[in-house]
């Protein structure tokens, strides 16, 4: 390890894991402000670390509550009224948390927005945050000074009372007003993590549904108890980062040690160093987080970590890759990591976060099923190595119900693959200002998750196994990518028009899904075809930020629905079946 850098402040001490004599309450609160009021009486809180694992900032819940309240009064004095939206650039820092909770005390609805993470994608980033600000009708946009130029650029045409930092808000007068915390039925926040850039969908989460999910997750999911402490690098603009290990911590008075997402991406092993240094017990990540660590550790000598305190190594957020998890367990076994700590879970922002959790302490339950039967919607177990591997994600959380249904809506039993629907107190109110999108996924109290799944009987319980998406959204390295965004980009290339492309996921021989674009190609000249394929790949890379395979197909070969829209699912099955064939030159990256 490198020596400590000078920016570290030696006298800072992280918050303790517990508050002696003060009972731990697991999200049995009516609202989020009630939860923070209670946490404010504890000694616990949030700690922020540098890329090398040095403690830089400490924000005890007590201080968070105090600062959030005084900031709330200033927001209200500035003319914001309960129910209005405030866009927040979600950097992993105390300022975001103070503003997020200030909104709660002022009855305002925060909308966490992402930070830029790619080279040269200025336009795409501006489009994304512009879409979120205008869709939510934000009245203010707040965040770190260094990112505000992007917000100003994106805010043209959006009527904002203020674009500024926490310091700008603190400089405003406090006024003589009161706090206006929302009630259980009021919205706590709006989350855009799952929407497309062009067609944003903001998930509306009430205090009541947030508390229901935090309760289920803390009590039945991670079984949070005295001594538990979390480490997280997941961004606040994603449901796993916002709820899983921020709001989940506040509502259970648990201390959390933070590494920023960009620092994790640069130095993934610092994640594990923080777990080791702080004797943390809980930490969650998508598969790719574990993959980055396993890859990086191969080049390191003895790290001196002790990971034996880590009792719940949560996996979620994308399809779980068992091979990656095994490689991680193998690589970190010498440091006291036990593969029994793996805890698979399933969830989505439309249900606040968590839907199901593995029982804990048992490691991954891997199910190997026959590939051909799977195409026929049956999950038939076969011997290890003889089929596709899936990981069971535990039973549906108490107070919630799940149904797996066939295409006609019939409820399916064990080992039959269908579409997963869930109901219960965590389900969102709908998408903000978007009745059409809401009506598409909320019906009769059931949320259509858009995921394909089956029930796997384990020890007398039906555990949920996710096999893929029925809806079109693709999850690539933890990022939600919508095929519509890819196609929109492709169809703006000169020579192509609307309906000329279909973005799909295709599994490679090892079962890893790769984004692939089928493009209708008119030129017959191989050089021109080659150029078209290269153009498509470059544009998607630049605009959407993903690496994809490009397959050129004959003109008019992509199927359409009766209303003339692209039949994406059918295009995919036709290509797999060989009914649509690639033309001469295509390029596989």
């Amino acid at each position: 390890m490198q020596p400590a850098v000078s920016s570290e402040i030696p006298h800072l001490t992280p918050t303790p894991s517990d508050t002696p004599g003060r009972p731990k309450r697991l999200a049995d609160f009516a609202t989020l402000t009630e939860a923070l009021d209670y946490a404010g009486g504890a000694d616990t809180g949030f700690n922020f670390y540098s890329a090398r694992g040095g403690l830089e900032k400490v924000l005890p819940f007590r201080e968070l509550a105090g600062q959030a309240k005084s900031t709330a009064l200033r927001l209200s004095a500035a003319g914001l009224t309960p129910g209005e939206r405030v866009a927040l650039l979600a950097a992993t820092d105390p300022e975001f948390l103070i503003l997020f909770f200030a909104c709660q005390y002022a009855g305002l609805i925060p909308v966490p927005m992402p930070l830029p993470t790619a080279f040269g994608r200025r336009e795409a980033y501006i489009d994304q945050i512009k879409g979120q600000m205008s869709s939510s009708g934000a009245r203010m946009a707040l965040g770190p000074a260094e990112f505000l130029p992007f917000v100003r650029e994106a805010a043209t045409g959006v009527d904002l009372a203020l674009i500024g930092t926490l310091a700008d808000v603190t400089a405003l007068p406090e006024g003589k007003g009161d706090l206006h915390p929302g009630g259980p039925g009021d919205l706590s926040y709006i989350q855009y993590s799952s929407g497309s850039t062009r067609f944003p969908t903001g998930v509306m989460v009430t205090h009541a549904s947030l508390m229901a999910n935090c309760f289920a997750m803390n009590k039945h999911g991670v079984k949070n108890s005295v001594g538990d402490r979390a480490v997280s690098w997941l961004p606040y603009f994603h449901d796993m980062g916002l709820v899983g290990f921020m709001l989940g911590g506040v509502t259970s008075q648990s201390s959390i040690d933070y590494l920023s997402t960009e620092d994790f991406a640069r130095r993934p092993l610092t994640w594990l160093k923080l777990i080791s240094d702080n004797k943390a017990t809980l930490s969650y990540a998508p598969s790719f987080g574990y993959e980055l660590c396993a890859r990086r550790v191969a080049t390191m000598s003895d790290l001196g970590f002790d990971l034996s305190s880590w009792r719940a190594a949560g996996i979620g957020g994308e399809m779980i890759k068992p091979g990656v998890m095994r490689a991680f367990a193998e690589a970190f076994k010498p440091y006291g990591f036990s593969d029994k700590a793996f805890n698979a879970s399933y969830g989505l922002a439309e249900a606040v976060l968590a839907v199901s959790f593995s029982p804990g302490g048992k490691g991954m339950q891997v199910d190997t099923v026959d590939k051909d039967a799977l195409e026929d919607h049956r999950a038939e177990p076969v011997a290890e190595g003889q089929g596709r591997e899936f990981v069971a994600c535990g039973s549906i959380l108490p107070d919630h119900t799940g149904e797996i249904r066939d295409e006609k809506g019939g409820v399916l039993g064990a080992r039959r693959v269908g579409r997963l629907f869930i109901a219960g107190p965590s389900i969102m109110q709908g998408y903000f200002n978007n009745p059409d999108a809401t009506a598409e996924c909320l019906k009769d109290g059931w949320l259509d998750t858009g995921d394909l799944a089956y029930w796997m009987p384990i020890d007398g319980q039906d555990e949920l196994v996710i096999v893929g998406r029925a809806k079109d959204m693709m999850i690539i390295n933890g990022r939600n990518v919508w095929p519509q965004d890819i196609e929109w980009t492709v169809e703006h290339i000169p020579g192509l028009k609307s309906g000329d492309s279909a973005a799909i996921l295709l599994a490679d021989p090892s079962g890893v899904e790769r984004p692939t674009i089928l493009v209708q190609c008119r030129p017959s000249d191989p050089v021109e075809r080659e150029r078209l394929a290269a153009d498509v790949r470059a544009r998607v890379q630049e605009q959407v930020g993903i690496v994809c395979d490009v397959v050129l197909v004959p003109a008019r070969s992509l199927p359409k629905t009766t209303s003339g829209k692209l039949a994406r699912g059918r295009a995919r099955s036709m290509y797999i079946a060989g009914d649509i064939r690639a033309v001469g030159v295509g390029s596989e990256s």
């Binding site: 890329a51 930070l115 830029p116 993470t117 790619a118 080279f119 040269g120 994608r121 200025r122 980033y125 260094e146 990112f147 130029p149 992007f150 960009e262 991406a265 640069r266 130095r267 790719f288 980055l292 690539i476 390295n477 990022r479 470059a538 890379q541 630049e542 930020g545 993903i546 690496v547 990256s589």
Partner: protein
């Protein structure tokens, strides 16, 4: 060293970046100052951060996140590195 816009980056910086890029060049692209990270080298956001970590170690600097959207080519990055190094000294 200068941080003026339109300036040429230091040849040493460019050489060092080309050297680092060798292990990240999965597309076999010809490396020039005009090489684009996303279009020519297929960098996704994970690779970007991995690459940035190596650059930071080599130059002993910290590359702020807010400059990434304006860095499209190796030349842009070299200029940014020169500027950060100059600010630190």
């Amino acid at each position: 060293m200068t941080a003026a816009p339109g300036a040429e980056p230091s040849p040493d910086t460019l050489t060092a970046l080309f050297d680092i890029l060798k292990t990240f060049n999965k597309t076999g692209a010809v490396l020039t100052p005009g090489t684009r990270f996303s279009e020519d080298l297929n960098f996704d956001s994970l690779v970007v951060m991995e690459f940035v970590a190596v650059v930071e170690d080599r130059f002993d600097i910290s590359v702020p996140l807010n400059i990434l959207p304006d860095i499209a080519t190796v030349n842009h990055l070299a200029l940014a590195v020169d500027r950060i190094v100059a600010e630190n000294s």
